[in-house]
Symmetry: C2
Subunit: 182 residues, 2 copies
């Protein structure tokens, strides 16, 4: 039930929506989710606060809604011929995505409101992992849960708590560990 669905996707509404998105991303990256308010977002977006309140109701809802649209759920899953290559490519994309401070800040914000039910974000990752593992059937002993525990989890843990440890070898060495046994 995303409020980004508009009955009039024409010029104005979309322009407003976009400037709000940009404002939220900037502010969350600059100050952290906790220190962002709706009037603040509205001012930076050059929009009336009322528009924000009417569309989303509260900050929580708005940020979650906007954060969802960052990592395109419809992007193509790698298909390079082996599970290892696919996972490596996929992991590199995730790392790249979250090395962007804005995306990392949005993830941290999302963590704060997680835990009640599975978020879109987590569900998508789990689905993608499952898809890749399935594709190569039983030719590998690796399960979707292994991918979550030993590839996704270490990346996300670092994004949230130790973002400066992420570099362009992170994804590869985690995949290496996954396939060679640590």
């Amino acid at each position: 039930m995303s409020s980004t669905i508009q009955k009039r996707p024409g010029g104005r509404s979309t322009a407003v929506l976009n400037s709000i998105k940009i404002a939220v991303e900037e502010l969350v990256a600059e100050r952290g989710r906790e220190r962002v308010t709706i009037p603040m977002v509205a001012e930076r977006a050059g929009v009336n606060p009322t528009s924000v309140y009417r569309r989303w109701g509260d900050l929580q809802t708005m940020i979650n809604d906007i954060a969802t649209y960052r990592l395109d759920p419809a992007r193509p899953i790698p298909e390079l011929g082996t599970l290892k290559a696919d996972l490596a490519e996929w992991a590199r994309e995730i790392v790249e995505h979250y090395r962007n401070p804005t995306n990392a800040a949005l993830l941290r914000g999302g963590a704060a409101s997680a835990g009640v039910s599975e978020s879109d974000c987590t569900r998508n990752r789990r689905a993608e992992a499952g898809m890749m593992v399935e594709r190569y059937g039983k030719s590998s002993p690796i399960t979707a849960d292994d991918v979550l525990d030993h590839l996704v989890a270490p990346i996300i843990y670092r994004v949230i708590f130790l973002p400066w440890t992420l570099d362009d070898t992170t994804a590869d060495s985690l995949v290496e560990a996954l396939f060679s046994g640590r």
Copy 2:
């Protein structure tokens, strides 16, 4: 610079501090950190909001300060004779700690404000992991980083995003995977 340090640790101040702690923990567990306010905490604690403002200044500071005192940093590290046994025991303690919804909620809240510098919480875990690995020297190929990536990270990832997947086999099977190669 924790504001829980008092110049008068006698009856009243401590009583106020304790009732505030309890109120914060309850409210964060009930509603999530985002939906807790200072007047709310003060009311539940039976304390004047002014006392909270004067002591901590803002919600952010207060919650972080209080959350720090939950997982005792001075608790003994397991010492069972083998690295595997020590890690298993240690991991079980962490899982147990975070299966408590209050502790999980505080962790999620902490995630929201993480990422700028290493938090006490993360630093302590890293230090403890290092200590155990060191103890058994080079008799094992496992490093402190391996422990963080493949034991701590999966646990914390689940605590934050998939808390219902935590059970009393989680710690053991992660340790098993760590030692047997996946």
